[in-house]
């Protein structure tokens, strides 16, 4: 092997590493390894002086390989690769040894062994970096069109945001109208804006915006390709109509939620007692402008039950987030329409987070709503009243704030049904290749730092298909997704990491085993050549296909057999 010039840098990470690992002894030992031109330790390698140290050594000592023993590559691999690039060598001629998360932090009790392990890891990295090859990132074109799935408030907002920035959008809606679940509501909490007004404005603007094409009664049939270059097939509900094939660069999934089926809880008698209704049925009542029981009378006693299907072991453990404020809105609306009506509000915890909500809660108290607290995993029981009871129904609950078991009268009971993932969410997740959590909600790339992106590049999620949320949050997510996409479109081209799998076509037998295995649908089969090939942009370099290929035809770039063996030998050396 040709003579190499390797620079080795051991980071102290303040005391994070130095407290447990003797960095200086590692420097001394690795200095003796052939080809190691320079070895240094420093307080913080990731700091500017640390990076400059690497850059200066590459230039001054003509280094051609760099090893940094520091934290996890997830933390700073990119930092040091960039430093290598600035120094003038290919960023992939760099290797990182994790001596913090996988060494000093977990072996803090034994300095000697920890130092030995850190040395072994550093040696492994030195051994591996010898086999590194320079790699170049790929670029691909970015198609400026976007496909938006779902025309609720989130979908419409994302579509408008993208279209008004001058890019074509195709808005696909399963039903025959725009508006989604929001179109079923009357007023919105806590500021009592009319849902109709909120939607009307969006709908008018969508119709007036030329580069949005709206496809109603339509569904995504298939999606192939990768970021910047997806091909989507849209099927119309009408079987005789042709399928539409679209070329899009990004996809926003905003398919929304469905409400919990109240009949699943038998205690509430939904479907049996005529005046036990769901929140959506009550919204319909509010939109017609009259609050009446089935018998056509004004209720003298109204009860609102929270957390129907939510925050419960049996159904959904999560909070549906919007029901508390909606319930308070109902209390105020009933009191407004029928001032002498006795309104009781049966809740588990009052979740009044968010702007204006605490005031809204207080206002509901001021209109004289009776708040009754019941226990999690307990349930109020509703029964029909006897003729002498002076009301239609009686609700029995164990009231937590007083410790009393009480009975309250009710003529009308409103069940605050929670949100749940739509039945077709699994199908959508499969089509666009994103994951779902245990409740069926679509998963974010990172719940805090990357809440609208998914693990599949180019696929974004927004609104209540991600988790229950209110209108402002849905709109914010929709705009965030649109913002992310606009950023990608503005760059024009997409850069694809040089690390991906490659099929050696001469060796490929066309067995298609890898096609099925790839979790990112990144391998396509070329029917004419009868060979598989990897879409570099979609590949995440997980290595599944490399391990599975019976012909050994697939190579993981930057994770070649040779490199991995070298690393193992380094550890054992």
């Amino acid at each position: 092997m040709a003579q190499l010039k390797i620079g080795v840098y051991v980071c102290n990470c303040g005391t994070n590493i130095a407290h447990t690992v003797d960095a200086d002894s590692i420097v001394e030992t690795v200095w003796k390894i052939p080809d190691v031109t320079i070895a240094r330790s420093y307080r913080y390698m990731c700091s500017n002086p640390g990076q400059e140290m690497i850059i200066n050594d590459i230039q001054g000592l003509e280094l051609d390989r760099v090893v940094v023993a520091a934290c996890s590559p997830r933390m700073h691999e990119r930092t040091f690769r960039n430093a290598c690039k600035s120094g003038g060598i290919n960023p992939y001629l760099f290797e990182m040894a994790n001596i913090r998360e996988q060494c000093s932090w977990v072996h803090s009790a034994d300095r000697l062994s920890a130092t030995a392990k850190a040395l072994a890891l550093t040696k492994a990295a030195i051994s591996r970096v010898r086999c590194h090859e320079p790699l170049d990132p790929l670029t691909a074109e970015m198609c400026p069109s976007t496909l938006v799935l779902g025309a609720g408030i989130a979908g419409m907002t994302a579509a408008l945001e993208l279209a008004l920035a001058g890019h074509p959008v195709c808005l696909v809606e399963k039903t025959d109208r725009l508006g989604g679940n929001l179109a079923r509501l009357d007023l919105t909490a806590p500021y009592l804006y009319s849902a109709r007004d909120v939607l009307q404005e969006r709908m008018v603007r969508i119709r007036q915006t030329e580069n949005i094409s709206v496809l109603l009664n339509s569904q995504l049939k298939s999606l192939t390709g990768f970021i910047g270059n997806f091909t989507a097939t849209i099927a119309n509900g009408n079987p005789s109509a042709d399928e539409k094939v679209l070329h899009v660069g990004n996809v926003v999934v905003a398919t929304g939620y469905k409400e919990f089926d109240a009949a699943r809880i038998t205690h509430y008698g939904y479907g049996k007692l005529p005046d036990v209704i769901t929140s959506f049925e009550f919204e319909r009542m509010l939109r017609t402008g009259r609050i009446l029981t089935k018998a056509g009378k004004e209720p003298r006693y109204a009860a609102i039950i929270h957390c129907v299907g939510s925050r419960n072991k049996e159904f959904h453990g999560y909070c549906s987030r919007v029901c508390c404020m909606t319930a308070l809105k109902y209390a105020q609306e009933i009191k407004g329409a029928i001032p002498e009506c006795y309104v009781s509000d049966l809740y588990i915890d009052m979740h009044a987070f968010g702007k204006g909500c605490e005031d809204f809660y207080k206002k509901s108290s001021e209109v004289k709503t009776l708040f009754l607290m019941y226990g999690k995993n307990e349930r109020p029981v509703i029964r029909k009243a006897e003729p002498g009871d002076d009301c239609e129904m009686l609700i029995e609950i164990d009231e937590k704030l007083s410790g009393e078991r009480i009975e309250i009268p009710a003529d009308l009971v409103i069940l605050m049904v929670g949100m749940e993932a739509r039945e077709d969410s699994g199908e959508v997740a499969r089509l666009v290749n994103i994951s779902q959590d245990k409740d069926g909600w679509f998963m974010e790339s990172h719940p805090k730092l990357d809440p609208v992106a998914t693990t599949t590049e180019g696929i974004y999620i927004a609104g209540t298909c991600v988790a229950p949320k209110d209108i402002p949050d849905s709109v914010a997510q929709a705009r965030a997704a649109a913002g992310r996409i606009l950023g990608r479109i503005a760059k024009g081209k997409i850069e694809i990491d040089g690390v991906f799998a490659e099929v050696n076509e001469d060796r490929c037998s066309g067995c298609r085993m890898c096609n099925e295995l790839c979790p990112y649908s990144a391998i396509e089969f070329d029917e004419t050549k009868k060979r598989s090939h990897v879409i570099a942009a979609a590949c995440k370099a997980c290595g599944c296909c490399v391990a599975a290929c019976p012909s050994g035809a697939i190579k993981g770039r930057h994770f070649t057999d040779q490199q991995i063996y070298a690393q193992i030998e380094g550890v054992l050396a």
Partner: protein, 382 residues
């Protein structure tokens, strides 16, 4: 067994002065700042909850409202403006009407017009009665001595007759209070010896109101104590030394010095309360029910006419003194006969009684089996 709520109770309490109870969301700040609340008597929070829910029987059965002296700390710490202090005050009014077997108290608290009308009727009856007696038995120019217009011997007998009626009425209502809060509940009824052991608490709390002294605002306690002691001094003078008090024209310092002191005490403390309620100077004076005003004005007028008749007599105008005396009697009789058993003044009996019964509750609860107590405290905590 589930208790049926009374949806109308909270509306009913509005007439007694509780207007903001709905605002309470049970953070518990009020009970945390209260120096008197403990784990047996969890107020104001517990009564607030019972009231919100309309659990009438439960409120009837608790002593909590009487253990509060209304320093107002709870109301000033309340994040929701639910006025727990005023709610306790309103509950005391409501409980007074519940203890009263005649139903007159309920009528008075719900309608100030009824109370004023009753006062006017009793005042007119009293005035005409004494006028008739004076005209037929004495001389309007003579204030003291055997031929006086309103001789002290006659007024003395009248005073004792009236006092007996008042004690009887208040006694019956106090027994009702014992039954509702203590006697009817086997958990709190307590053993017979507890009633003897705690007996000293009745005079102790009556005369010292020492629990009031533990409230954050010590000044309110001192003012209240001064008012009470002044009144009691005057009461003793009238009930036992009326002849000496009325005889003149010389000043009997052995008796009158107490009278002057008591009058000064009354005028000062009533003035303080009236000013405070008009200007809303302290939390507990922010909300004034009609019954508070009627009580205060009656007390002020009674004191003023009492002082006036004395001054007029000593300055030598017998007839004017007799007219002032007549007005004084026409005010003092309705004030005592209506305010003591049926209105604000009944707290002179209920409050010390509640302190007394409270300690009996503690003894009774401590004697209950451990398991039952644990269950109850658990229930309370949840």
């Amino acid at each position: 067994m589930a208790i049926r709520v009374n949806p109308k109770l909270i509306g009913e309490l509005k007439r007694y002065g509780a207007e903001d109870v709905h605002n309470c969301y049970h953070c518990g700040n009020c009970s945390a700042v209260c120096t008197h609340a403990d784990d047996v008597f969890v107020f104001p929070r517990r009564p607030m909850r019972f009231l919100q829910m309309g659990l009438e029987k439960r409120i009837e059965g608790i002593l909590d409202p009487w253990l509060c002296y209304y320093c107002g700390q709870c109301s000033s710490q309340c994040p929701r403006g639910a006025e727990p202090g005023e709610t306790m005050m309103s509950l005391r009014r409501w409980l007074t009407s519940r203890y009263d077997f005649t139903g007159i108290s309920k009528l008075f608290y719900q309608s100030w017009k009824a109370e004023i009308a009753a006062i006017l009727i009793v005042a007119l009856l009293t005035a005409s009665g004494f006028l008739w007696y004076g005209v037929s038995h004495g001389d309007i120019q003579t204030y003291d001595g055997p031929s006086a217009f309103l001789p002290s011997s006659m007024v003395h007998i009248f005073d004792w007759a009236m006092a007996s009626v008042l004690v009887l009425l208040l006694g019956i209502n106090s027994i009702r209070m014992w039954w509702l809060t203590t006697g009817s509940n086997e958990k709190t009824r307590g053993p017979w010896w507890a009633y003897l052991k705690c007996l000293y608490l009745l005079p102790l709390h009556f005369f010292t109101q020492k629990r009031y002294g533990k409230c954050e605002t010590r000044r309110s306690w001192l003012i209240h104590l001064a008012l009470m002691l002044s009144y009691v001094t005057m009461l003793v003078l009238i009930m036992f030394f009326l002849r000496l008090l009325q005889d003149g024209p010389g000043i009997r310092w052995a008796v009158h010095s107490f009278g002057y002191l008591a009058s000064a005490g009354l005028l000062f403390t009533i003035g303080y309360a009236v000013y405070g309620r008009i200007r809303k100077t302290e939390v507990h004076l922010n909300h004034s029910h009609e019954s508070d005003w009627i009580f205060l004005w009656m007390l002020l007028l009674v004191t003023a006419t009492g002082v006036l008749q004395h001054v007029l007599h000593r300055t030598g105008t017998g007839m004017a003194a007799n007219v002032a005396y007549l007005i004084h009697l026409a005010l003092v009789v309705p004030m005592l006969t209506l305010e003591v058993p049926f209105s604000k003044w009944s707290h002179l009996a209920y409050r010390p009684l509640a302190m007394y019964l409270g300690d009996i509750h503690r003894i009774a609860l401590a004697r209950r089996p451990q398991a039952a107590r644990a269950m109850e405290s658990l229930k309370m905590a949840s």
